[in-house]
């Protein structure tokens, strides 16, 4: 932050700004939960990238090509590979955020369970 307002300079570009001007909103009861969620999500992104790179390595190997950085950069996934990766990324997100698909405390889950316990009492 703090780069705004300076005029463009000849020579090497100066570094891009990393944070947006304007207060950063937090949503959870404890803002540290928002921060931790950002860290976990960034890590999930790294896992997804590593999986995709590994997939490229395996597909190169299947074609008898060594996994050199040049071959990895040159690899262009055909449509069926792009579709498979799309499905794989969506599935990864479903697994990582699985707990958020479950009923939450304000959605009647506790009362419903209590009524079941009482049924069998």
């Amino acid at each position: 932050m703090g780069n705004e307002g300076r005029s463009a300079m000849p020579g090497a570009p100066r570094p891009r700004q990393r944070f947006a001007k304007g207060r950063r909103p937090y949503f959870m009861k404890d803002p540290d939960v928002d921060r931790l969620l950002a860290i976990v999500t960034a890590l999930a992104a790294e896992v997804s990238v590593t999986r995709e790179r590994l997939d490229t390595v395996e597909r190169l190997a299947a074609e008898g090509l060594p996994a050199t950085p040049e071959n990895i950069e040159r690899y262009e996934p055909p449509p069926e590979v792009q579709t498979a990766r799309e499905i794989s990324r969506a599935a990864l997100l479903d697994r990582v955020f699985r707990i958020l698909a479950a009923p939450m405390e304000d959605e009647g889950a506790e009362a419903e369970y209590q009524s079941i316990v009482e049924q069998f009492a």
Binding site: P10, P25, K29, A44, E52
Partner: protein
């Protein structure tokens, strides 16, 4: 390197940059779906009825909706995720553009002036509504310059908008332009504009369709206040073989003469301004239109849809879009009348999103408000 470029100015991506950007697109699809589903359900089933009761039958205010949803754990989680996704979008694309920046600047220099034109004016001041916060939480916003002849914010926007729109706006990201063109042609079937102005064009995504939709003899102008976006817009238009005259100007008061244009349009400009600027822009449009000319400003304003109202309020409050909430409640008919348009000739409509002017509706729940009007024809013609 994967070559997924759609024009010669489009920034590239390494294998891992592309993989990261694809992940962000999937993340956005996932988060937005959960945010919408959980928000819409609880709004309709619970929050809206309860607030109407508390308000004595009146519809809830945007603030009431936002505060009520902030009490819901599921909305808190997905709100937090939506903000994180937005930040990751820029933090993923930004470094990739930064890495390529000297080469992108060089490419733009080489393309400069081959068709159309680019006129920059360093004396154009950035209005306060664009500098108070970084719009869309984009670090440095749309005007930040990192180097001489910089194109960084424009190049970054071309890739982030592709991810942000999740494929809804087509490969050239021009669906806003085609949607408005379809509306103009349906509403004014006899209308044949020769001189066209697009206000607040950013990198010209919506501008370029106007250079092909009304014949070969049109003259298309496009203005914006952000110089690095205009540099990229000009280079992109040249790369895509379209002739557009880009100039750095504020839409509230341009340097074009009275009656310069047959058609003045904008796409998602109005909500990036302010209560006062919106009125100035409509007045300026009236000044710029020739007799028989058409105004068509389009924007994401859907005041009657409950979830859209909440989402606009959410974006205004949590994604650095300070005017997006307020604009939902603006009286556009009164603004147009105040700018000198004949109220009988003002049209407010919802135009469906289309990827081509003759294409089907791209997404059934996606539409823009069009603030349209036509000036009376010249007398004694």
């Amino acid at each position: 390197m994967q070559n997924n470029s759609i024009h010669a100015m489009f920034p590239g991506a390494t294998h891992d940059e592309q993989a990261m950007q694809s992940f962000i697109k999937n993340l956005r699809v996932h988060v937005l779906r959960e945010f919408q589903e959980s928000g819409r359900t609880v709004l309709e089933a619970e929050i809206d009825p309860a607030l109407r009761k508390a308000n004595g039958g009146r519809a809830p205010t945007r603030r009431q909706l936002r505060e009520a949803l902030a009490q819901k754990p599921r909305q808190r989680w997905w709100s937090s995720m939506l903000r994180i996704t937005q930040e990751m979008l820029y933090d993923t694309v930004g470094p990739s553009i930064e890495r390529q920046l000297p080469e992108l600047i060089e490419r733009a220099r080489k393309l400069r002036g081959r068709t159309g034109s680019l006129t920059l004016d360093p004396s154009v001041a950035m209005p306060r509504y664009l500098t108070a916060v970084d719009i869309h939480s984009k670090p440095g916003s749309y005007q930040q310059e990192l180097a001489e002849d910089d194109v960084f914010p424009g190049a970054e926007f071309d890739r982030t908008y592709r991810l942000y729109s999740m494929g809804m706006y087509g490969p050239n990201l021009d669906a806003s332009g085609w949607s408005l063109i379809a509306w103009i042609k349906q509403t004014y079937p006899d209308f044949r504009p020769r001189r066209i102005l697009d206000m607040g064009c950013t990198v010209g995504h919506s501008t370029l369709p106007y250079a092909e939709a009304f014949g070969d003899d049109v003259e298309v102008h496009a203005i914006d206040v952000a110089a690095p976006c205009l540099r990229y817009a000009h280079a992109r238009a040249v790369a895509m073989g379209r002739s557009v005259h880009f100039s750095q100007q504020n839409a509230e008061r341009t340097n074009f003469a009275d009656g310069s244009f047959d058609l003045v349009v904008s796409h998602l400009l109005m909500h990036e301004t302010s209560h006062a600027a919106l009125r100035n822009i409509i007045k300026e449009t009236e000044r710029l239109l020739a007799p028989g000319g058409v105004m068509a400003h389009s924007d994401g304003v859907r005041p009657k849809d409950l979830f859209s109202r909440y989402y606009a309020e959410w974006m205004a409050h949590f994604n650095n879009e300070p005017f997006l909430g307020t604009i939902q409640d603006e009286d556009f008919e009164a603004i147009c009348a105040g700018a000198g348009f004949d109220p009988e000739r003002v049209v407010l409509a919802q135009a469906p999103l289309r990827r081509r002017e003759d294409g089907p509706e791209a997404a059934p729940l996606s539409s823009f408000l069009v603030v349209g009007a036509r000036k009376p024809p010249r007398l004694n013609a």
